[in-house]
């Protein structure tokens, strides 16, 4: 049977796979535990699903533990998540006490003795309080844009995080004032997943037909939740400016943002802006429609992610991986991924977005070149193998604190 590493080898190259094997070999038999709050749904669960088989193939004894909590607990952690992203939320002392109690209960329930523990996000952060002796090194992995966290919530969380041996952030701007080494590990995508694997033309056409998307004009696509930070209304404005000059159609694909108080209003605005326009299609898909999203991205001519606020922007990474020209809002990690005329275009307004769409429609050869460069950029920096490599390097560095250069 072909292993995942063997399947990844033709995609990332034998040098990369060989490097992972050598690093793992140098580390020797290590035990690693990842802890998060859900087995499915969301980027963290997706990453862990991709990474776990690779650990096993590399000889790392890895486990994935999921904490359990009641509805109140997850309401508190959702509020904490929003507060870390800078939103004003009310979190009472009672809510924080409940959060601590659930962490304590999980500490009693979870059974592991490990060399390394990677705790993902705030939900299980306080496990360290009761479980410190159960692992040699504790690493906190923050996937959230914590560049402007709410002071009260961060001060509460910091009490736990400061006890860790290291923390990991996704962007330099998310780093915090902490008494231990902080590392940058960019998020990644799995090229073998349903969302990113290669599809045949037949598979793509079948999905288009099933979703009722005609391919009679160039397709502009944005895949995102219908919330204000993704600016779907701005995309429609841009599209209408383009269509006044050049025939094309717009696909807005995503799900409603149920946890965003503005979500229903934004979705209503999108429907209103798209009403009566046969060239605009709004598709509400199930959150697990990865295969369909893959096909839509591969069928599109230009992919837009006109965010006005963004964490890292993995939808941009996914679009780049499909070799498409991508136009993104100049926000968060999109700025890191898209470089004008190189790996994509950055824009700051609906007008800018329209300008770049028109440019690409008239210069498809430039779009093809940018798509090729974008795919190589992703191959080198944003695939799951790089994430595994970074974790291996981190384990080596964590075991040798104080060494800025570690030769193995």
């Amino acid at each position: 049977m072909t292993t995942r590493l063997e399947k990844l080898e033709p995609i990332v190259g034998p040098i990369v796979i060989d490097q992972l094997r050598r690093m793992a070999e140098q580390l020797g038999s290590q035990r690693l535990v990842h802890v998060n709050s859900t087995r499915s749904g969301g980027g963290v669960a997706e990453l862990l699903s991709s990474i776990m088989p690779l650990w096993s193939e590399l000889g790392i004894d890895a486990r994935w533990e999921v904490i359990e909590g009641d509805q109140n607990f997850f309401e508190v952690t959702k509020a904490m998540h929003n507060a870390l992203q800078g939103f004003k939320v009310t979190i009472t002392n009672g809510m924080l006490q409940h959060y601590l109690e659930i962490n304590r209960r999980n500490a009693d329930r979870l059974e592991f003795d490990s060399d390394f523990v990677v705790i993902n996000d705030p939900q299980p952060a306080y496990l360290i309080q009761d479980m410190r002796s159960r692992a040699r090194r504790w690493i906190w992995r923050c996937h959230i844009d914590a560049s402007r966290p709410d002071r009260k919530v961060w001060r509460f969380l910091r009490e736990a995080v400061r006890q860790y041996d290291a923390s990991i952030f996704s962007m330099p701007s998310f780093a915090q004032n902490l008494p231990h080494p902080q590392y940058l590990v960019y998020p990644s995508i799995d090229p073998l997943s349903e969302k990113n694997r290669e599809l045949s033309q037949e598979e793509i056409s079948a999905v288009m037909e099933r979703l009722g998307v005609e391919r009679d004009k160039p397709i502009i696509l944005q895949v995102s939740r219908f919330d204000s930070f993704k600016d779907p209304v701005g995309v429609i404005q841009a599209f209408k400016m383009v269509r006044a000059h050049t025939p094309c159609k717009l696909l807005l694909v995503g799900g409603e943002a149920n946890d965003d108080p503005e979500g229903p209003r934004i979705f209503a605005e999108v429907q209103e802006a798209a009403r009566g326009d046969p060239d605009i299609k709004v598709l509400l898909l199930h959150p697990e429609s990865h295969y369909e999203v893959n096909a839509l991205q591969r069928a599109a001519d230009i992919i837009v992610q006109k965010s006005v606020r963004e964490g890292f922007g993995l939808t941009v990474t996914e679009a780049m991986w499909k070799g498409k020209p991508v136009i993104g809002g100049a926000a968060g990690g999109i700025v890191l991924q898209l470089r004008d005329f190189n790996t994509g275009f950055l824009v700051h307004s609906p007008e800018g977005c329209a300008l770049r769409i028109r440019y690409l429609l008239h210069h498809p050869e430039v779009g093809t070149r940018m798509g090729r460069l974008a795919k190589e950029f992703v191959r080198n920096h944003f695939l799951v193998t790089r994430n595994v490599r970074d974790y291996l390097a981190l384990m080596i560095l964590c075991d040798n604190p104080g060494h800025r250069t570690m030769a193995i």
């Binding site: 040098i15 490097q19 590392y183 950029f377 570690m406």
Partner: protein, 232 residues
Amino acid sequence: MISADQPAPNPFWFHECIVMTMPTGKKAANLRELLQTLREVDESVLSYHLWQSRVAIAPPDVEYLNDFVAWAANSLQDSRLAEKLSVIDPFGFENLQEVRDNLVDTLDEYLWDLPSVPWARPGFEFHFCEASVVVLRSQISARTLSEFCQALTQVSRNSIYYHFMDARWRLRSMKTDDFSNWIVSSYDLPDLVSALQGIDVWFYTLEEVRDAILNLVSQYMEKTDDNPPRET
């Protein structure tokens, strides 16, 4: 010219490195803050933004020479400053303190003549980072120039970076590198060494650096039958 199969006294062992970026938490929102922070930060921060970032997160096409130039151009949108900073070649100095002095002097002089301090838009601040590095010995070595060329095509980009760029800082001599040192100690090829050290790395991606080195070494090698690199 030298025989492609003439053995060197000691083989060249290829290493590779993983550069792990470490945000310092310090940031600059305008040019004055950049200048002030540049005066204070550790040299490890300078080396990160001058060359380590090239392997940590390398664009597929090199447009700007280092992070400071890119920030001036993209975030301050000050092309004149980007042009001025582009002239500073870190490998043209004896050490990082001299590079820092030159950067600081250039920025100070530039600010002196400006009527107002240029600001980056929110979200485009300069975030100062440094790095920790894990160095791995690869399983590839070369004992002849022929093996060296074959090995160069097989090693990772990180390996090219480690031996050709990182080496200048590591060896405390900005003007030499591991490849040049090996050739100096193995063969009487001063022109090749000089040509290697003359490669203007700042405008090349690591893949292009690899090709440039291969091209140069090939020119000084008498062709014989292919000799595969040593793997142990």
